[in-house]
Protein backbone atom coordinates (compact mmCIF):
# COMPACT_ATOMS: atom_id res chain seq x y z
CA UNK A 1 0.00 0.00 0.00
CA UNK A 2 3.04 2.26 -0.13
CA UNK A 3 1.80 5.06 -2.35
CA UNK A 4 5.15 6.64 -3.04
CA UNK A 5 5.96 7.47 -6.66
CA UNK A 6 9.48 8.61 -5.96
CA UNK A 7 12.39 6.51 -7.29
CA UNK A 8 13.88 3.99 -4.87
CA UNK A 9 16.20 5.53 -2.31
CA UNK A 10 14.74 8.99 -2.85
CA UNK A 11 11.72 8.97 -0.57
CA UNK A 12 8.95 11.53 -0.98
CA UNK A 13 8.22 13.74 2.00
CA UNK A 14 5.08 11.74 2.82
CA UNK A 15 6.56 8.28 3.26
CA UNK A 16 8.91 6.55 5.69
CA UNK A 17 10.17 8.90 8.42
CA UNK A 18 8.10 11.63 6.79
CA UNK A 19 4.91 9.84 7.74
CA UNK A 20 6.04 9.80 11.38
CA UNK A 21 6.78 13.51 11.11
CA UNK A 22 3.30 14.13 9.66
CA UNK A 23 1.75 12.13 12.51
CA UNK A 24 3.50 14.27 15.13
CA UNK A 25 2.56 17.45 13.23
CA UNK A 26 -1.05 16.26 13.20
CA UNK A 27 -0.98 15.72 16.96
CA UNK A 28 0.40 19.20 17.50
CA UNK A 29 -2.11 20.68 15.09
CA UNK A 30 -4.95 19.10 17.09
CA UNK A 31 -3.42 20.09 20.45
CA UNK A 32 -2.70 23.69 19.47
CA UNK A 33 -5.98 24.22 17.60
CA UNK A 34 -8.20 22.96 20.41
CA UNK A 35 -6.20 24.79 23.05
CA UNK A 36 -6.25 28.10 21.15
CA UNK A 37 -9.93 27.67 20.25
CA UNK A 38 -10.86 27.07 23.87
CA UNK A 39 -8.75 29.98 25.15
CA UNK A 40 -10.14 32.41 22.59
CA UNK A 41 -13.71 31.24 23.15
CA UNK A 42 -13.64 31.36 26.97
CA UNK A 43 -11.15 34.01 28.14
CA UNK A 44 -9.79 35.98 25.20
CA UNK A 45 -9.53 39.22 27.22
CA UNK A 46 -7.01 37.81 29.68
CA UNK A 47 -4.13 37.39 27.24
CA UNK A 48 -5.13 38.22 23.65
CA UNK A 49 -1.55 38.25 22.32
CA UNK A 50 -0.75 34.84 23.77
CA UNK A 51 -3.98 33.30 22.48
CA UNK A 52 -3.67 34.78 18.99
CA UNK A 53 -0.12 33.46 18.91
CA UNK A 54 -1.41 30.01 19.89
CA UNK A 55 -3.91 30.22 17.05
CA UNK A 56 -1.17 31.23 14.60
CA UNK A 57 1.01 28.32 15.79
CA UNK A 58 -1.93 25.97 15.34
CA UNK A 59 -2.49 27.21 11.78
CA UNK A 60 1.20 26.77 10.95
CA UNK A 61 1.18 23.18 12.25
CA UNK A 62 -1.87 22.34 10.16
CA UNK A 63 -0.44 23.86 6.98
CA UNK A 64 2.93 22.17 7.59
CA UNK A 65 1.26 18.77 7.98
CA UNK A 66 -0.69 19.31 4.76
CA UNK A 67 2.44 20.50 2.94
CA UNK A 68 4.41 17.43 3.97
CA UNK A 69 1.52 15.11 3.19
CA UNK A 70 0.96 16.61 -0.27
CA UNK A 71 4.64 16.03 -1.13
CA UNK A 72 5.22 17.46 -4.61
CA UNK A 73 6.96 20.73 -5.42
CA UNK A 74 4.39 23.14 -3.98
CA UNK A 75 3.92 21.03 -0.85
CA UNK A 76 7.66 21.14 -0.19
CA UNK A 77 7.77 24.93 -0.43
CA UNK A 78 4.75 25.22 1.87
CA UNK A 79 6.36 22.85 4.37
CA UNK A 80 9.68 24.73 4.11
CA UNK A 81 7.96 28.05 4.83
CA UNK A 82 6.02 26.59 7.77
CA UNK A 83 9.05 24.92 9.35
CA UNK A 84 11.00 28.18 9.04
CA UNK A 85 8.17 30.20 10.61
CA UNK A 86 7.96 27.63 13.42
CA UNK A 87 11.67 27.72 14.12
CA UNK A 88 11.72 31.53 14.16
CA UNK A 89 8.55 31.53 16.24
CA UNK A 90 9.69 29.06 18.87
CA UNK A 91 13.10 30.74 19.20
CA UNK A 92 11.68 34.27 19.18
CA UNK A 93 8.85 33.58 21.61
CA UNK A 94 11.18 31.48 23.76
CA UNK A 95 13.63 34.37 24.14
CA UNK A 96 10.88 36.97 24.60
CA UNK A 97 9.00 34.90 27.19
CA UNK A 98 12.18 34.55 29.23
CA UNK A 99 13.23 38.19 28.82
CA UNK A 100 9.82 39.74 29.52
CA UNK A 101 7.29 37.28 31.02
CA UNK A 102 4.70 40.09 31.10
CA UNK A 103 4.39 39.92 27.30
CA UNK A 104 2.72 36.51 27.49
CA UNK A 105 0.66 36.31 30.69
CA UNK A 106 -0.57 32.86 29.70
CA UNK A 107 1.33 29.92 28.24
CA UNK A 108 1.56 29.44 24.50
CA UNK A 109 2.83 26.40 22.63
CA UNK A 110 6.09 28.25 22.03
CA UNK A 111 6.66 29.74 25.51
CA UNK A 112 10.00 28.84 27.10
CA UNK A 113 11.11 27.17 23.84
CA UNK A 114 8.15 24.79 24.07
CA UNK A 115 9.03 23.54 27.56
CA UNK A 116 5.35 22.87 28.30
CA UNK A 117 5.32 20.34 25.47
CA UNK A 118 8.57 18.55 26.23
CA UNK A 119 10.54 20.88 23.89
CA UNK A 120 9.00 19.03 20.94
CA UNK A 121 7.94 22.38 19.35
CA UNK A 122 11.66 23.24 19.24
CA UNK A 123 12.77 19.90 17.79
CA UNK A 124 9.93 19.52 15.29
CA UNK A 125 10.84 22.33 12.83
CA UNK A 126 14.49 21.23 12.89
CA UNK A 127 13.47 17.66 12.03
CA UNK A 128 11.15 19.04 9.35
CA UNK A 129 13.91 21.07 7.73
CA UNK A 130 16.35 18.12 7.93
CA UNK A 131 13.74 15.87 6.32
CA UNK A 132 13.08 18.37 3.52
CA UNK A 133 16.85 18.55 2.93
CA UNK A 134 17.18 14.75 2.86
CA UNK A 135 14.38 14.43 0.30
CA UNK A 136 15.39 17.46 -1.78
CA UNK A 137 15.78 15.44 -5.00
CA UNK A 138 12.51 13.59 -4.65
CA UNK A 139 10.27 16.22 -6.22
CA UNK A 140 12.13 16.45 -9.50
Amino acid sequence: MADTDAPAGRPATNSGPGRLLIAVYLLFAVAATSRAGLQIATRFDEAPVAYLLSALAALVYIVAAVGLARAGHAGRWVALACCSVELVGVLGVGVLSLADPGLFPDETVWSGFGSGYGYIPLVLPVLGLLWLWRTRHAAR
Binding site: A2, G16, R19, L20, A23, V24, V30, L38
Partner: protein, 131 residues
Protein backbone atom coordinates in the same frame (compact mmCIF):
# COMPACT_ATOMS: atom_id res chain seq x y z
CA UNK B 1 -21.22 20.52 46.21
CA UNK B 2 -17.93 19.21 44.86
CA UNK B 3 -17.05 15.79 46.16
CA UNK B 4 -13.47 15.06 47.19
CA UNK B 5 -11.68 16.09 44.02
CA UNK B 6 -8.79 13.65 43.98
CA UNK B 7 -10.63 10.46 44.97
CA UNK B 8 -14.08 11.08 43.48
CA UNK B 9 -12.94 11.54 39.88
CA UNK B 10 -14.36 8.94 37.48
CA UNK B 11 -11.26 9.22 35.26
CA UNK B 12 -8.87 8.48 38.11
CA UNK B 13 -8.63 4.85 39.08
CA UNK B 14 -7.67 1.35 38.04
CA UNK B 15 -9.05 1.80 34.52
CA UNK B 16 -7.10 4.99 33.83
CA UNK B 17 -3.96 3.42 35.27
CA UNK B 18 -4.52 0.36 33.07
CA UNK B 19 -4.73 2.52 29.92
CA UNK B 20 -1.49 4.28 30.87
CA UNK B 21 0.37 1.02 31.54
CA UNK B 22 -1.02 -0.66 28.41
CA UNK B 23 -0.08 2.33 26.28
CA UNK B 24 3.48 2.43 27.63
CA UNK B 25 3.93 -1.33 27.12
CA UNK B 26 2.69 -0.94 23.54
CA UNK B 27 5.05 2.02 23.02
CA UNK B 28 7.98 -0.10 24.22
CA UNK B 29 6.96 -3.04 22.02
CA UNK B 30 6.67 -0.88 18.90
CA UNK B 31 9.91 0.92 19.72
CA UNK B 32 11.69 -2.45 19.76
CA UNK B 33 10.01 -3.28 16.43
CA UNK B 34 11.11 0.05 14.93
CA UNK B 35 14.68 -0.40 16.13
CA UNK B 36 14.71 -3.91 14.62
CA UNK B 37 13.43 -2.56 11.26
CA UNK B 38 10.12 -4.40 11.65
CA UNK B 39 6.82 -3.11 10.28
CA UNK B 40 3.83 -2.93 12.64
CA UNK B 41 3.01 -6.54 13.58
CA UNK B 42 -0.14 -8.24 14.80
CA UNK B 43 0.54 -7.65 18.53
CA UNK B 44 0.73 -3.91 17.80
CA UNK B 45 -2.64 -3.86 16.06
CA UNK B 46 -4.22 -6.08 18.74
CA UNK B 47 -2.67 -3.82 21.39
CA UNK B 48 -4.12 -0.73 19.70
CA UNK B 49 -7.56 -2.37 19.60
CA UNK B 50 -7.39 -3.32 23.29
CA UNK B 51 -6.16 0.19 24.15
CA UNK B 52 -9.05 1.73 22.22
CA UNK B 53 -11.55 -0.50 24.09
CA UNK B 54 -10.04 0.56 27.42
CA UNK B 55 -10.20 4.24 26.44
CA UNK B 56 -13.81 3.90 25.28
CA UNK B 57 -14.63 2.24 28.62
CA UNK B 58 -12.93 5.18 30.36
CA UNK B 59 -15.03 7.61 28.29
CA UNK B 60 -18.22 5.72 29.19
CA UNK B 61 -17.29 5.79 32.89
CA UNK B 62 -16.70 9.55 32.63
CA UNK B 63 -20.04 10.10 30.86
CA UNK B 64 -21.85 7.97 33.47
CA UNK B 65 -20.21 10.13 36.15
CA UNK B 66 -21.53 13.21 34.35
CA UNK B 67 -24.98 11.63 34.21
CA UNK B 68 -24.87 11.22 37.98
CA UNK B 69 -24.28 14.92 38.42
CA UNK B 70 -20.49 15.03 38.76
CA UNK B 71 -18.81 17.88 36.92
CA UNK B 72 -15.24 18.30 35.62
CA UNK B 73 -13.28 21.36 36.78
CA UNK B 74 -12.74 22.58 33.22
CA UNK B 75 -15.56 21.13 31.11
CA UNK B 76 -14.34 22.50 27.76
CA UNK B 77 -10.82 21.18 28.11
CA UNK B 78 -12.08 17.92 29.61
CA UNK B 79 -14.25 17.09 26.59
CA UNK B 80 -11.51 18.21 24.22
CA UNK B 81 -9.07 15.79 25.81
CA UNK B 82 -11.67 13.02 25.98
CA UNK B 83 -12.49 13.26 22.26
CA UNK B 84 -8.81 13.51 21.33
CA UNK B 85 -8.02 10.51 23.52
CA UNK B 86 -10.43 8.08 21.86
CA UNK B 87 -9.22 9.21 18.40
CA UNK B 88 -5.54 8.46 19.08
CA UNK B 89 -5.44 4.63 18.68
CA UNK B 90 -7.52 4.73 15.45
CA UNK B 91 -5.14 7.40 14.09
CA UNK B 92 -2.16 5.17 14.95
CA UNK B 93 -3.94 2.21 13.32
CA UNK B 94 -4.63 4.03 10.04
CA UNK B 95 -1.15 5.55 9.77
CA UNK B 96 0.49 2.20 10.66
CA UNK B 97 -1.54 0.50 7.90
CA UNK B 98 -0.43 3.18 5.41
CA UNK B 99 3.22 2.76 6.36
CA UNK B 100 4.18 -0.95 6.44
CA UNK B 101 7.82 -0.21 7.30
CA UNK B 102 9.77 0.36 10.50
CA UNK B 103 8.38 3.90 10.47
CA UNK B 104 4.89 2.49 10.93
CA UNK B 105 6.10 0.98 14.21
CA UNK B 106 7.66 4.34 15.08
CA UNK B 107 4.30 6.05 14.52
CA UNK B 108 2.58 3.54 16.86
CA UNK B 109 5.33 4.19 19.42
CA UNK B 110 4.95 7.99 19.19
CA UNK B 111 1.17 7.94 19.56
CA UNK B 112 1.38 5.46 22.44
CA UNK B 113 3.75 7.86 24.19
CA UNK B 114 1.30 10.74 23.72
CA UNK B 115 -1.72 8.77 25.00
CA UNK B 116 -0.62 8.58 28.69
CA UNK B 117 0.08 12.33 28.64
CA UNK B 118 -3.47 12.99 27.42
CA UNK B 119 -4.89 10.64 30.11
CA UNK B 120 -3.01 12.56 32.81
CA UNK B 121 -4.15 15.92 31.38
CA UNK B 122 -7.70 14.55 31.33
CA UNK B 123 -7.43 13.77 35.04
CA UNK B 124 -6.04 17.25 35.73
CA UNK B 125 -8.92 18.98 33.92
CA UNK B 126 -11.41 17.01 35.99
CA UNK B 127 -9.90 17.93 39.35
CA UNK B 128 -9.00 21.61 39.26
CA UNK B 129 -7.90 22.92 42.61
CA UNK B 130 -9.82 26.03 43.56
CA UNK B 131 -11.41 26.41 40.08
Amino acid sequence: MTSAASTGSPVDGILATATIVLSLVLALWSLVAAVRHRPPDRPQFVGLAVLECALLALAVVALVGLGEGERPGEPGAFFGYLVTLVCLPPLAWVLARMEPTRWGSAIVCAICLVTPVVVVRLQQTWAVVGG
